[in-house]
Symmetry: none
Subunit: 222 residues, 4 copies
Amino acid sequence: MSAQPRTARGVETRSRILRAAEDVFAELGYTEASVSRITDRAGVGQGTFYLYFDSKLDLFNELVEDLNRRVRHAMAEGAASAPDRISAEREGFAAFFRFTAEHPALYRVVREAELVSPEALRLHYTRIVEGYIEGLDQAHGAGEIGDIDTTVAAWALMGIGEMIGMRWVLWGSNGTGEGGGDADPTASGTSAVPEHVLDEMMRFIGGALGRPAAEPTKEEES
Amino acid sequence: MSAQPRTARGVETRSRILRAAEDVFAELGYTEASVSRITDRAGVGQGTFYLYFDSKLDLFNELVEDLNRRVRHAMAEGAASAPDRISAEREGFAAFFRFTAEHPALYRVVREAELVSPEALRLHYTRIVEGYIEGLDQAHGAGEIGDIDTTVAAWALMGIGEMIGMRWVLWGSNGTGEGGGDADPTASGTSAVPEHVLDEMMRFIGGALGRPAAEPTKEEES
Amino acid sequence: MSAQPRTARGVETRSRILRAAEDVFAELGYTEASVSRITDRAGVGQGTFYLYFDSKLDLFNELVEDLNRRVRHAMAEGAASAPDRISAEREGFAAFFRFTAEHPALYRVVREAELVSPEALRLHYTRIVEGYIEGLDQAHGAGEIGDIDTTVAAWALMGIGEMIGMRWVLWGSNGTGEGGGDADPTASGTSAVPEHVLDEMMRFIGGALGRPAAEPTKEEES
Amino acid sequence: MSAQPRTARGVETRSRILRAAEDVFAELGYTEASVSRITDRAGVGQGTFYLYFDSKLDLFNELVEDLNRRVRHAMAEGAASAPDRISAEREGFAAFFRFTAEHPALYRVVREAELVSPEALRLHYTRIVEGYIEGLDQAHGAGEIGDIDTTVAAWALMGIGEMIGMRWVLWGSNGTGEGGGDADPTASGTSAVPEHVLDEMMRFIGGALGRPAAEPTKEEES
DNA sequence: AATGAATGAGAGTTCATTCAT
DNA sequence: GATGAATGAACTCTCATTCAT
């Protein structure tokens, strides 16, 4: 029933709907976000929606896929220029937090996906984790990190990022969820979480991943 | 409008509704779970619901509170007899995973809370994290762990538990969400995640928390 | 989802909806008859409809069944006091035409059933035909009619009744479908079709069913 | 708004739409058959439809007219070579049943016409009946049939044909509507209803129409 | 001639909640 | 204490039709 647009006008209309949907889903979540609210925001008729999407769920899945692609792109870009794995991890997280701050939809939409489209949720997390695993395997091969199970570690990293992101990005620095007048959290080059939180988080992760040769918390200490 | 029951019969009716609600919310999520489905499952009339709860949301909040109380109780009990912090952490997580396996509602309900009742969600996580912080602070005071920011670490632990729980408890060992014929995951004394995952996860956490002197749980000791 | 009413008030409401539905279906047909129009006419809220019927189709099927029961009852009653099969046939048809005149829904609803609920349609015709067959078999056994295939004859009678009814009852005496100011067609004891049409129709049928003793078409002929 | 095509290409397009419409109406009925489904099946754009038809109803009326023309042509052709009225009747019915078997649209579309376009329905039946009347009048003049009211008889014949056709052609030999693996019902020269049903039906009609002297079609003749 | 884009009205259906009994 | 009846707003989705290209 739905179809790809075949004219430039159609392409424009379809993307207007997608952009409106991202906003509305982020604000209201899947259930509360009605098709009519989306089309209102997009400035198109209600019937137009069904020209390009089979259903509200169809649009939702597409949106999750899209966000996933974009957040992974942002993370990869952030990590690209890092000299070693630990820096790469740090820059990847910083990029993730910035993306979250700019696109709160990521959180809202993905978390609700659990109920709406479990498969979409699984794909989202799995794809990100696969990126972590790859990076960790390389780092391990290069002797940058300890002898760990990279799969378990990758899921742990995923969880850390999600929870720290919820606590300090979504809820704001004071943890009340009421925003907090932070300095612009989206400024590129900085992180959307307070610097010291990122520092501590990376210290936590650094310890977790282990150091290959001389482990400073151990023998060298004292 | 709602009221506490005044008779034994009322107490029974109210708790029948609560138990039914846990099942129905876990199965369908907040939005899809209709009041009539809950009262049907509870075996009471639709009007009876409003004798004990102001609204569907009221019931939801109460349910989240209740689950939070129970999961913290289970974790505390699991950790109670541990000789040191790292063991306590391990037993706490194991208890958390068992609780999750037995009450999938914890995941479903809590994750949806983000959209339905953000305050309930914040309270839920914050309370668990406070328990972590307390434990970490004590451990730090006792010289069991390194010199870390216990708040950041606590949120990281929260995230690790949530994500590992989703991946290995909810989705099953194969990560497909289709169950996998695992041995009874609720058997007390064991964990609901594969033993080696729990091992690796604790190694990860052990490294993260840092060890001031030597690591007492492994072979290098003595 | 739908349920039988459990109180007197519910019984009354449900039957109000049924009566309204018969009117509205007769006027507009299945497709044009919206649930909201039915509930408006019944003077109940739209949601009330779904307390007693699963769907519009559910109601439709129930209505066809009900009409079928009533028309067969009317026909049987009409034919009951007839001295022989041919008179019984005549009185049965007369009753059928009166019923049609009083309940145009019979026609409208049943003819649309072909598309909406084919099974309902089949049941409707089959049940009426079964009554014909039974009567014809008895008449044959009693030597009142000729040696015919009663099944084929019964379906033929069904068709004759339906078509004559459409032409002279529904469309009126002038066949324009615009009514015709006929004398009250529902007066009991009379037929809803002009007397001479009924006469001719019965002469047609009488010839068709054959005469038992001196049957001119076969052996006894010259 | 609609117009007759002015080019060969237009003629082809218009007839593509008509053929598609016959299929779709036959399958789904008037209401369920959407214009877009018809244009999809025809392989033309949605807007093209309105180049040749004013509205969906306009197309429907045209289709009924067309089917009516074709079925009457088929019946007249079937009856053309018959030596007497009764044979003509038989061959006409046989042709009617074959047409019905080949074009189920006749039934579906015409029966729904009652609600969609009553005038179209009336015209359809009336035209066929006029053919019957003409034939019966001639036969009566020729002394082939008894002294009957040919108008009433014609409507009765119409009803018989319709009902026998529904029962044995549309529903199949077993009357379940599920088809029944009959031998090809469209083979010309045979009837689409079982031979014995046609025989019995004609015996019924033969008796109904009355024979002035002796029955010329059977073995006692000559 | 042909068509894809666009639309708003309206469809059937669900549901949290109120109320009389 | 308990409950069935009732409701109207809101939902997702369909469709005949118009129009610019």
